[in-house]
Symmetry: C2
DNA sequence: CGCAAACCTTAACATAGGTTGTTGCTGCCC
DNA sequence: GGGCAGCAACAACCTATGTTAAGGTTTGCG
């Protein structure tokens, strides 16, 4: 296997034409979408895309950016304290949505690209999803709403991780979250997926120091729960990992 | 001053007739509301209220409860790990909203009353706020949306607290959050407010042990940043506390 | 009035995780 | 091809916070 660089920094992208899939797949799972709606999503992903290199700033803290969809690459929402400590509040994966439609608060976090990233304008989607019959929304409206609600669920998971779990548990939990989300976007096999994150990035997400992330990864390898090298993770014992992390799958929509 | 018990457990309530104010005040600050809308809020708070004692369960984990408004008393969203560790994900104060209108995900957290609590049915409010012209919402719709967005901001603050701040900083930050929110609801004076929380509850919110919360409170008292006794807090040096906590006020609506 | 429960406080000790610093590997660029 | 940058790995030491256990205080209640 080619040892892939952890910080590819803009080298490889998805095969051309595959860009639309994560967003279509994800939204399609959150609500049943009409062919017209699927076409609209594909159109948005084909439309003029914004490209940023790794470490590029998608929007600064305090901004109120127009809705965009992450078409490819990884990003995060991050907040910095005055003395330079950083906390990654959430990871953004292909198929995730970034801004919000107009009545919105200034974002308390900046959004940063972690790899090279492609962003599509999502305004047409929100316009189509919400202009119609408000309470009983159309498929697209429901899907966008569900995406928003899921993000909140992830935030709560993150709070529990940071507040009450050990380093080992936090790492397990994060890996399971990422696996499930990537699978929804069609970017994970059963047990393995690409993890283009530095241990430093993991540390900022897990509320740990880099050194301790390293220790924890080593331990988890020794315990034969995961393999992690060259930016690829393989979950060797999903059930064991699940029970370490006290993980419950992210729920889908219900009404 | 009467030493108020930390866990009043149902003794005192707000003066009769004052129930409507926190919700009206809060929503009125999030968007300008018509007299009809204000009346509707007052009506909801007068309507048949659900009452729960301290420690009562407002809704269990995994539920998808109809929207309610917290009219008086304190509550929280809480999640428990398999081995009994608990994390308070958010505090709910008078004027806060609890459920969500129908297309919703099963709540990943239970909601628990921390004191005696009164809940109003908020369904009429959501119905009135969102049935109308969808994208450019009426005042009430905007206010409800803003409340939802603010909750997300609070969650992110909580993530940063737990992930990157020390015990001392976490406590400072939480006190400032509560002060601002209570002031919005009309329940805090300039520097002081009622804090009906056990140190154990604080510990579960701050991701600390009870003992360490106690140590931290002691230290903060010694530093003359706060007074805390009998369920009343007084912030002696707001600016110092702010700089310790790296606190930024919760933003209001902008579009 | 006196007891019991719930809560706060303190101390002594244990440990998860932070900090600092060094090493070595890999890919990249001049 | 040598030096440099970014990253993983490892060690030694330090500190914030957790744990256990014990007393002290307040409140509520019989």
């Amino acid at each position: 296997m080619l040892p892939v660089r952890l910080h590819p920094g803009g080298s490889e992208g998805p095969p051309p034409g595959a860009e639309a899939q994560p967003l279509q797949r994800r939204l399609g799972r959150l609500a049943s979408l009409s062919p017209a709606e699927m076409a609209m999503i594909a159109e948005a992903c084909r439309g003029p895309l914004r490209e940023l290199p790794a470490r590029g700033e998608i929007h600064p803290e305090g901004a109120c950016p127009p809705p965009a969809a992450l078409v490819s690459g990884w990003a995060c929402r991050i907040r910095m304290l005055a003395d330079g400590r950083r906390q990654i509040v959430a990871f953004l994966l292909p198929g995730d949505l970034i801004g919000r439609p107009p009545p919105c608060l200034p974002a308390p976090c900046a959004a940063l690209a972690l790899t090279r990233v492609l962003l599509a304008d999502a305004q047409p989607l929100f316009a189509a999803g919400f202009t119609e019959h408000p309470p009983t929304q159309t498929g697209l409206g429901r899907a966008l709403r569900a995406a928003e609600l899921q993000e909140e669920v992830l935030l709560r998971d993150q709070v529990v991780r940071l507040g009450r779990q050990t380093a080992y548990e936090r790492l397990a939990s994060l890996l399971l979250e990422l696996r499930q989300r990537l699978e929804t976007a069609g970017l994970a096999q059963q047990r393995g997926f690409a993890l283009p994150l530095t241990q430093e990035v993991l540390a900022d997400a897990l509320g740990l120091s880099v050194v301790h992330v390293n220790r924890t990864v080593q331990q988890m390898r020794r315990d034969r729960l995961i393999e992690l090298r060259g930016g690829q993770v393989i979950i060797l014992q999903p059930e064991a990992l699940r029970s370490v992390a006290d993980w419950q799958d992210i729920p889908g929509l219900r009404d």
